[in-house]
């Protein structure tokens, strides 16, 4: 991995130049909505916005999209209509989220729809300032070493730019004069100071160590029933979680014909219908069972399989659940054996 240095004021020029590769997208804030939007230039972005409502998974795996068109002779994949996009301003937690999605959609099972979007999307990360809901320090996702094409660390006077891929390097080569390889002692000191400072900014204190054991011990805990009584089954937690990846598949047909489309849309194990099978049996009829599945998956099962939690500490569940059920309150409830108010 190569690290370059760039003057702060050159960022705008750089982003204008790389637009030649594809559409430029970045975090924007409009009417209280923080989202990744298509922009013309850096000036339209809000780099201070901590978290978008929906993580960047929406680019790699849209909420609802058509996979293919079918008729009586077979089917034709809907590929090729995905635009090339550059996402600027993605934070380390969200890049960690994409790395997890990559594992699920590209390794054992190759998902062609995800792959096409992933290959046409460049991730240009940006350092961030944690707010009161961030807890990436507890999930070890506060810094990132893989999964991005470029990563910009803001050191006040200049950017340190990590080059994470050859595609990222190609972007650098579109404006090589803006980057310097001459890093000196002050850059190292500034970067070390930034890391130290970032570590002091967290306000949500949560300890996820030992979570697999605590989940195992608490499998039959009455805490789940209490949480189940509160849960609204609205499914928002799944929609906003950077690592939730479940989907449903449905066919639509043209009126009076058997030609149609097969669509895929985001689903959630929090919904009753999710675990409903033919014959009317439901594996997780109780809301408490659904909640337990969700949290066990994030903080126990995933650790068992991949060595780290499927929580990237982004705080979106904390910033979304109307009844205050999130990774922090659930972990606390299991540990304390009491559901907080």
């Amino acid at each position: 991995m190569m690290i370059l240095k760039m003057k702060k004021e050159d960022l705008s020029t750089f982003l204008d130049a790389v637009k030649e590769w594809g559409e430029l997208w970045g975090p924007t804030k409009k009417d209280g909505k923080v989202s990744f939007s298509k922009v013309d230039s850096l000036s339209q972005m809000d780099l201070k916005a901590t978290r978008t409502i929906i993580p960047p998974k929406k680019f790699l795996y849209p909420p609802r999209f058509t996979m293919f068109d079918f008729d009586e002779n077979g089917y034709v994949e809907r590929t090729g209509d995905v635009p090339k996009r550059i996402l600027f301003g993605i934070h380390p937690c969200d890049i960690h989220g994409v790395v997890i999605m990559d594992k699920l959609f590209l390794e054992t099972y190759n998902d062609p729809y995800y792959r096409e979007r992933r290959e046409k999307t460049l991730l240009l990360g940006h350092s961030c300032i944690p707010d009161e809901k961030c807890m990436c320090i507890a999930t070890d996702t506060d810094f990132i070493a893989e999964g991005f094409d470029l990563f910009f660390t803001d050191l006040k006077m200049s950017y340190l730019v990590w080059v994470g891929s050859t595609k990222g390097h190609d972007l650098i080569r579109m404006k090589p004069e803006l980057f310097s390889r001459a890093l000196d002692k002050s850059d190292i000191l500034n970067y070390t100071a930034y890391r130290k400072w970032k570590n002091t900014q967290y306000k949500t204190m949560v300890d996820f160590t030992g979570m697999p054991d605590i989940f195992e011990l608490g499998y039959s805990s009455q805490v789940w029933d209490k949480l189940g009584d509160k849960c609204l089954s609205c499914g928002q937690c799944s929609m906003v979680c950077p690592t939730c990846n479940c989907y449903n598949v449905v066919d639509d047909v043209e009126l009076g014909s058997i030609e149609g489309t097969r669509d895929r849309f985001w689903d959630s194990c929090m919904f009753r219908e999710y675990s409903l099978v033919a014959g009317g049996h439901n594996f997780r009829e109780k809301r408490a069972d659904r909640l337990r599945l969700w949290y066990t998956h994030k903080l126990q099962a995933y650790i068992g399989e991949f060595g780290k939690p499927a929580c990237v500490g982004c705080g979106r569940c904390v910033a979304t659940c109307p009844v205050d059920i999130n990774v922090v309150t659930v972990a606390d409830a299991l540990k304390e054996q009491e559901v907080g108010k």
Partner: protein
């Protein structure tokens, strides 16, 4: 591959007829719709109607008289598939918001006084599944054109329609809206079936629940939450019941027994 066009009937009972109107409002697809199906009876659309065996009956409106009850049973007896369209048929509609409170006769008297009703014997409004078996529910007040057309297209192709079972919140997040309920304001989203595309929250307005209750709602938790946020319990109950009909009335019984003010 050709299939015989299914014989279809469209019927309306107590309601605003908005769902039947929405079918007629499918202007771009109306020719296809009438081409792909054999519309045997649709009083709002045509005068030449024939009552007989049907493949599919679409029924709008709640059941409010003994006469309607008899007519509905007759439609059921001669239809292979019966589909409830719109909030009134699905759950009873706004006219059923107070259903089961034991004060229907009092309200009836307040409106009609001592007038003698001769056309039929009036009853408290009920959803159609209180009388007959319903195969498919297409919710909405009024129904959504594309949900209706998707369902019809599937039926014509001999497939089972799929309608969203999850709450409005799901579609609302797809639209990247901030959660209204999280902000401490009333929103009926978690209790309400999706399919509307979360139009209201996308425009910054709370969900009023016009798609009717989902099959898996936690009304007790939402009620508690709104009470904690400082809402007047009676007001909350009114808002929740507006489009919730008989189904919600059943679910809030326990809350009301414990006393809304408690």
């Amino acid at each position: 591959m050709t299939r015989q066009s299914p014989k279809v009937g469209v019927y309306g009972f107590t309601g605003c007829a908005g769902d039947q109107l929405m079918i007629l409002n499918c202007e771009d697809q109306l020719v296809d719709l009438f081409g792909a199906t054999e519309i045997r009876s649709f009083l709002m659309a045509k005068s030449d109607n024939h009552e007989g065996e049907l493949d599919v009956a679409f029924v709008e409106g709640s059941i409010s008289t003994d006469h309607q009850e008899k007519k509905l049973k007759d439609i059921r007896a001669r239809s292979k598939v019966l589909i409830a369209i719109g909030g009134c048929a699905c759950v009873g509609g706004p006219q059923a918001m107070m259903v089961g409170d034991g004060k229907w006769e009092e309200r009836f008297k307040k409106v009609y006084g001592n007038a003698k009703i001769t056309v039929a014997k009036p009853n408290e409004a009920k959803p159609i599944d209180a009388i007959v078996k319903v195969d498919i529910y297409i919710p909405g007040c009024p129904i959504d054109k594309s949900e209706f057309l998707n369902a019809v297209s599937k039926l014509v192709a001999g497939k089972h329609p799929y309608l969203y079972q999850f709450p409005v919140c799901n579609e609302c997040r797809w639209k990247e809206n901030p959660c209204i309920l999280y902000a401490g304001k009333f929103c009926g989203g978690p209790l309400t079936k999706a399919g509307c595309g979360a139009i209201c929250p996308t425009l910054g307005l709370p969900c009023v629940g016009c798609w009717g209750p989902t099959d898996d709602l936690n009304v007790t938790s939402e009620y508690q939450l709104l009470k904690e946020k400082g809402y007047d319990p009676d007001e909350v109950m009114k808002k929740l019941r507006k489009f919730g009909g008989a189904k919600l009335a059943e679910l809030v019984k326990d809350i009301e027994k414990k006393g809304a003010k408690a």
